[in-house]
Symmetry: C2
Subunit: 407 residues, 2 copies
Amino acid sequence: MFEVKSVKETFGIIYDNFKYNDPGSERVSILDALGRLLDEDLVSDSDIPAFNRSSVDGYAVKAKDTFGASESMPCQLNIVGEVKMGEKPGFAIKSDTAAYIPTGGELPEGADSVVMVEYTEDFGDGDIFINKPAAPGNGLVYRGDDVRQGSVVLKKGQKLRSQDIGMMAALGYVEVLVRKKLRLGIISTGDEVIPIGSAPKGAQVRDINSYAVYASALRMGLEPALFGIVKDGFDEIQDTVRDAMEKCDIVVISGGSSMGTKDVTVKVIDSLGEPGVLVHGIAVKPGKPTILGKVGTKAVIGLPGHPASAYVIFNVFVRRLVEVMEGRSGSLEESVRAEMDTNYPSNQGREEYLSVTLYEKDGKAYASPVFGKSGMISTLTTSHGYIHISRGSEGVSRGQMVDVMVF
Amino acid sequence: MFEVKSVKETFGIIYDNFKYNDPGSERVSILDALGRLLDEDLVSDSDIPAFNRSSVDGYAVKAKDTFGASESMPCQLNIVGEVKMGEKPGFAIKSDTAAYIPTGGELPEGADSVVMVEYTEDFGDGDIFINKPAAPGNGLVYRGDDVRQGSVVLKKGQKLRSQDIGMMAALGYVEVLVRKKLRLGIISTGDEVIPIGSAPKGAQVRDINSYAVYASALRMGLEPALFGIVKDGFDEIQDTVRDAMEKCDIVVISGGSSMGTKDVTVKVIDSLGEPGVLVHGIAVKPGKPTILGKVGTKAVIGLPGHPASAYVIFNVFVRRLVEVMEGRSGSLEESVRAEMDTNYPSNQGREEYLSVTLYEKDGKAYASPVFGKSGMISTLTTSHGYIHISRGSEGVSRGQMVDVMVF
């Protein structure tokens, strides 16, 4: 018999039993690399900037020529040229001379500072008057100060954000090597479950979980695949789980919250290989009837049958499992900070993920508990996210600030 | 001459000058609908549940038969059947009888409550002993209590989240009507800018902004298109902006932070139609040289040339513009709450978006300012997000809690 595990124990079991498995890699255009996991170190082939570069519109000078300059006593320098964007200046700055330089222009030889145009005055007589002293290095970035040639700028394994795509462009990468996405197989079970395009007769219900899980998996950067609806028999479920396990890294079995179905799911997982079922039941609301198993290196999850419970469990536990299997450490999660508008007493002794609605009033964010009977699906769309109520806590009070994890 | 606008004034100008324009719609599979804007009201064609449904594993009973039941004095009911999943029960519950019912099963006629199996004892003699009283409605969801036939469950204009995809499945929608994505045209300007696949010679630099903006636009749910690199001349820029405006809803011109280039961008926007340039310069750090224009119903944005500035401005202002043009009201934004690990004094008089790095130590989240000279690109990848420092504030102090908007 399995003992119900706490949330913390379940996370521990995930960390102890799963690890990064190389899913193989593929080469993609950087335009398609957003959200993918980089599978190579990206090294800069050159210094950035590749030249001493002005970061302002102004005048390239020798800083020492400007020492002591002020509005009442500007220093006067002879303009010897104008730097053109993208071109190497054909002249040098000697003492008491200056040259106009635009933002991004290459600093002429001899200059060691750029004075912003705001601190200069040009009377059109070929000289420029400077009314603020500049220090060497002002208004410019030295060659290689931004990125040094040979340095690793983006690391193997990191998840690519939009700014990283910009950095890859700067380094001259048109394509990069990324890891293949983890494949998630989705199986729906239950004699009462029918395809969504069909009209339910009698006590039949449409297959909700497959689609909510499919979309959640897309959001997590996985490659989901639907394996259809399977009748509630051991052989049928075993055949489909075996097929899904061959093609996928993670298999999710949804539907079937009745005890009989759960028992079949447990038997199927145990029948397919070692170590089999690791967790059968989590002390959490909602989601007690959750199953976590492992066969070889693959993960098999039995989700609760109630769609709203399945959804929360998938987003809390499978998300963590995916991070582990992708070799990423837990990233800091984003949330919306809001004030509870209602008291919510919680069952002590087990943790709870409470679904809440978010709304704004007078520029402040509020969270409101979503009430609904177990098994309702309308709570799925009325809720914007969930808050975590820890074990032993008495709940949350009106006026308390909470961090809402948005679905 | 244009006056520099405050951040608040700029948002006001966005709200006053732009509005929702119907981009047309298309029909997509619900598997492809995540993140899209729904373009029809979705109505339930039936009651959900379509029958009185058990939400637990247990026994269907008449509640009044259980009144007074306790562990020491259980009530004894005769088992008259077992409800099968997905099937209409072929029997009714009369006084002093009960039937086994699994989670999701249809309540037999005559029953008005389901007692969880945990509160029953079955000695195998054809009777079931119930040791806890049940109230009518316990353990079940009545027909239509979840979703009423004819009710609007998902509204036209809402952005579809993964749980909404589940709800569409419940309603039997295989495909739905969504709005076409807003198209964002990206133009890079600057004589010094070269394609990313080329090796920079002399003072040339690779085109970073196009790619960082492209990826940010994907993340915002837009359909981005690259219009390439254009030389710094009025005619060349005008031709390309006109072309991009014909094909796109929003045009972003990046690169060129020198004053000359900015002036050309302003002239081009004004030359293409009314009302032309609305904002030329925002009192914000970074991003002062930002241009916001409107031609007909289209938006044209001139981003700062520095990649890190362009990135922040795009994510702050263009994000807001997109919300307005998509007809969405400002959604509550997610952030990571973290403690500042360093004092950061700020310039009073203008707002600042300070880039920060996030890290975790002893289970706590910390934010650290990313320092770097203006124009550096390495700050793009070292920063995880930004915090907003309001005008007139003196900055942020070490130990202060801040909300980090993750890029």
